[in-house]
Symmetry: D3
Subunit: 156 residues, 6 copies
Amino acid sequence: MRSRARASSEDGLSGEAIAVATVKLWSNAEAEADARVSAVFADIRATRGSDVVNNFWRGLANDPALLERTWSALKTVMGPGTLDPLTKELVYIAVSIANGCPYCIHSHTAAARAKGLTEGQHGEFLAVVGMANQTNALVNGMQIPIDAAFRVEEGP
Amino acid sequence: MRSRARASSEDGLSGEAIAVATVKLWSNAEAEADARVSAVFADIRATRGSDVVNNFWRGLANDPALLERTWSALKTVMGPGTLDPLTKELVYIAVSIANGCPYCIHSHTAAARAKGLTEGQHGEFLAVVGMANQTNALVNGMQIPIDAAFRVEEGP
Amino acid sequence: MRSRARASSEDGLSGEAIAVATVKLWSNAEAEADARVSAVFADIRATRGSDVVNNFWRGLANDPALLERTWSALKTVMGPGTLDPLTKELVYIAVSIANGCPYCIHSHTAAARAKGLTEGQHGEFLAVVGMANQTNALVNGMQIPIDAAFRVEEGP
Amino acid sequence: MRSRARASSEDGLSGEAIAVATVKLWSNAEAEADARVSAVFADIRATRGSDVVNNFWRGLANDPALLERTWSALKTVMGPGTLDPLTKELVYIAVSIANGCPYCIHSHTAAARAKGLTEGQHGEFLAVVGMANQTNALVNGMQIPIDAAFRVEEGP
Amino acid sequence: MRSRARASSEDGLSGEAIAVATVKLWSNAEAEADARVSAVFADIRATRGSDVVNNFWRGLANDPALLERTWSALKTVMGPGTLDPLTKELVYIAVSIANGCPYCIHSHTAAARAKGLTEGQHGEFLAVVGMANQTNALVNGMQIPIDAAFRVEEGP
Amino acid sequence: MRSRARASSEDGLSGEAIAVATVKLWSNAEAEADARVSAVFADIRATRGSDVVNNFWRGLANDPALLERTWSALKTVMGPGTLDPLTKELVYIAVSIANGCPYCIHSHTAAARAKGLTEGQHGEFLAVVGMANQTNALVNGMQIPIDAAFRVEEGP
């Protein structure tokens, strides 16, 4: 692969950051040299109104088709719909906490804050996540059978 | 332990349901004979405006102190606050999906529907949960380093 | 929602199966009445050379856009590429085992067998999965630091 | 325990690396002073044709019986059989991603590369892992019942 | 594969039980016809002082080498040592709850009861497991950095 | 939020440690200025007989009610009961390993050592955890049905 050492500080990548991934993180220069990667990076910047393309996309760039599919799906799923944007971010963080993904927790907590999450809401959110993990464990430990009342009701 | 076979159909417990737990599921009669359990069951019914006490609480009744602490904490955490009730349920389900807890998914999906979750919102919610699990895996697989931009900003 | 009770035996859905999902499983008749769902079901049948559309897709049909995106991505990801089809199925099962998804384990074990997985290979595969889960736990328990030798090498 | 500070740079252990484990990482000198540990380290080197003994084994050395059993089982499971070595490594990484074990992801991605994994295959593999995690979540969220067709067929 | 339908009721296997595994569960007659499987089953019976060989081993019998390794390791790990047998069972159940493995929770809760676990201890154990899952989530959600005080101390 | 940069070295917080959390870690000075946080910190110090208040509580301080509930529950659950304190710590670590929570593994391994865990017991504990994770995966992979013998027995 091309040398990751060539990633320059203008990409906002520190030497240490580059060293710990299992794949190359594409620099801006490398991205610009690939039409598909370049197009996705441009759309990320336009959609977010920011020049920053975070490391996740720089890693996915190694497989342009996967980059395109993932960005397209994310843009659709996290875009306007019937759930408000902040609720979607909280759901995202909740999953990331349960899965133990530090990067995902950091990036989506930052996104939630950008969408208005207050300190008070963050604390309340964490309390719900903690409670859910606790009761999940209690339920699993006791192997509680599902109440008939929780089944989806039959229609007429 | 007292025979679980004594749980009668009036408790809404089927024979099969009783058979699969690792603990006894307390019948109404058994609950009424224990002051602490009885008090919690009464508060659950009053809080929810329903006579149904679902199996989770009937299992926790084997440890009255744990039953009291769990119900008290759940009532507080899921009660009124700065996040709306439906958002809290969605966060709860998201955690339960990631942890693979069928009972929890059923009970909180039912609760979310009772709080107004529409079919359209449910589909959108599942899409977010699916996307989060997918990107969690991609991030973990590539071991993406955390962007400096995601760090909590220093105050003044 | 439309009554799930209308799903007839011709869809291969037993009454019990219908009862345990948190969403409606679409019958063939319901699928045919929705142009987008109908098109995806037809493509699933054509791609697999079988009339069977398994329950996963019947559940996703509640959100036609999610159904379309998921089928499209799955078809691409599991289709021809640089990894052989059986290897992809084994990776899929391994993830499903770690995540504790019984449906996924059943469906992809069946798919792996259809692609030639032998009993001997299945046993060997399970041994690898078991070993990986064991050493994951040992590594996490000891919090082993990553060897410098495992870092991605710098290019020339 | 004996001082970890005695591990010298000749073991390829940095001070930072030593500091983060919950157990001592055995230096070469310490390993040589224990007959059982020494024998396993020698077999690791001989089997892999390399002088490097990675940190995982240096941590397991604290319990020589566990070290012996784990190395013996790993050598057997990952050795020649009916699945090709690269497929086994991919299965190993897939499990490690789902379990969130950074060390395991790094070490087995390095091993997979040593066994011929190309960049294209790596991207395709990550796409399968991402897809499996996504559909696992969708299946769990909808609590899809297992299709009768996926059951193991009865013999004649 | 040989017909699972031949498993007779004398093996304690119900028809339903056989139907849900992804592998054949070996009957006593089948086990007796294979020298390696037969020897392991005999050792399980002798070690446990019971004629029952539970389904896990009947599934592993499909790969005699995996059966032998797993039984041998389990017998060693769960056998006499420096931790008492009940503590080991509780650790086993705790892991099984976190991983969401119903079979494992049932089998090891039964084993813990056989080793003296009281109802009171079971409730207290579940409370610890619930608390650990809750604080794990809170820690992950806040991404708490490790205190210097928790690092393993250097020796003299 | 108030500047985390004000946390002084007297709190035992390094600059790096502060930088990686998603929430502010409260300094001693900040804690003292809040009556509820101050009271919990004082009780932590009194209960443990140490001036150290570890980072977990400094993060929870952002939500005083969550801090109070969590400390109160933890103190009760991990306090005197029918299970010995070391067993409780081992159960806690086992859950934390399965969930992949490095902070929790470090803090509770340190606590277990303070309660008398020997190197020999630690190795044996890790072997049980590894074995449980391995067999969990084998059971899930084979989808082993639960033996009738493991069901909770009916009473008289």
